[in-house]
């Protein structure tokens, strides 16, 4: 229990560090506002190694601590809803499609969920349905970033799955 708690807090800290790092390296030439989604790697790892509820905890805590670290309250809703949507879609892919998908496919699903969540929040805040016109571009960028996030995660999971006795199984790594 304590061991798990320590690992989860380490994962939250890692997700926070990666989020802060990727704020410094945006992708302005591809699409304004598009990010690498490096912290999604940590979420995917906690989903695979620990499970759904733990991944949800890591995603929510990461959003809240990121708000405290950067001080931008307005971006909390975006990162929170985006993160939760990403965890939900990745869990669906993990639970029902793990025979057909590798971590790359699951990660791409997660990035699509993240983008969808953020567009939904933007639609609610600006009260303008035209925000959805921006979704296709984000989805296509998300395929590329999701590919590398999934590739990186599967390399990490190969080693991290030895940490717990109750590894969930899932796609081959």
């Amino acid at each position: 229990m304590v061991k798990k708690l320590v690992y989860l807090s380490l994962l939250v800290a890692m997700a926070l560090a990666l989020s802060l790092l990727e704020n410094v390296i945006p992708l302005p030439f591809v699409a304004p506002g598009a990010k690498l989604g490096l912290s999604n790697m940590v979420i995917l790892i906690s989903l695979a190694v620990f499970g759904f509820s733990e991944a949800l905890i890591v995603a929510v805590l990461k959003s809240i601590v990121l708000m405290l670290a950067t001080g931008s309250v307005s971006s909390l809703a975006y990162s929170l809803i985006g993160g939760v949507m990403a965890v939900l879609l990745m869990e669906l892919g993990y639970r029902f499609l793990h025979k057909y998908l590798s971590f790359i496919g699951i990660s791409i699903l997660g990035s699509a969920g993240h983008n969808l969540g953020q567009i939904l929040v933007a639609t609610f805040i600006t009260e303008n349905i035209k925000m959805f016109n921006y979704l296709p571009l984000l989805l296509i960028v998300g395929i590329f970033t999701g590919y590398f996030v999934g590739l990186g995660s599967s390399k990490v999971i190969r080693h991290m799955k030895k940490l717990t006795i109750d590894y969930r199984g899932g796609p081959d790594v």
Partner: protein
């Protein structure tokens, strides 16, 4: 990569292409083109993009944040904003009906719309 991964990529790609071509757009065409400046979904100002506006600058204040736009040759550009990500400035200039510039941190949205019926009362000139 497994077979399912390619299916996921193909599915998301085709959804994107579908959304790109059949996106939400209003098919209103009028002679009078204006930029609608909206704070949190409410229109606060209309800037008519005609010749008299060339080179003029507008500063908007919302929630203590400032955004500066410039009009040039019937198009509008966000030239200055005190938000953190500066994504609105990277969105370039807009001039066609339906195009938008969004500054999410400051909750400012500028959308190009058109008016079929020109009314003098609505026309605010500075």
């Amino acid at each position: 990569m497994k077979k399912g991964d390619y299916i996921v990529i193909g599915l998301i790609f085709s959804i994107s292409i579908f959304l790109f071509y059949f996106g939400i757009s209003e098919e209103i065409t009028g002679d009078i083109v204006y930029a609608s400046v909206q704070f949190s979904g409410e229109e606060v100002e209309r800037i008519y993009l005609d010749d008299s506006m060339d080179g003029s600058k507008f500063i908007f204040e919302n929630l203590g944040n400032h955004n500066t736009v410039q009009i040039d040759k019937h198009s509008l550009t966000m030239v200055e904003a005190d938000c953190k990500d500066q994504a609105c400035i990277h969105q370039g200039s807009i001039g066609k009906i339906g195009e938008t510039i969004v500054c999410l941190p400051n909750q400012v949205l500028i959308e190009i719309k058109s008016d079929e019926e020109f009314s003098d009362i609505d026309h605010i000139n500075y």
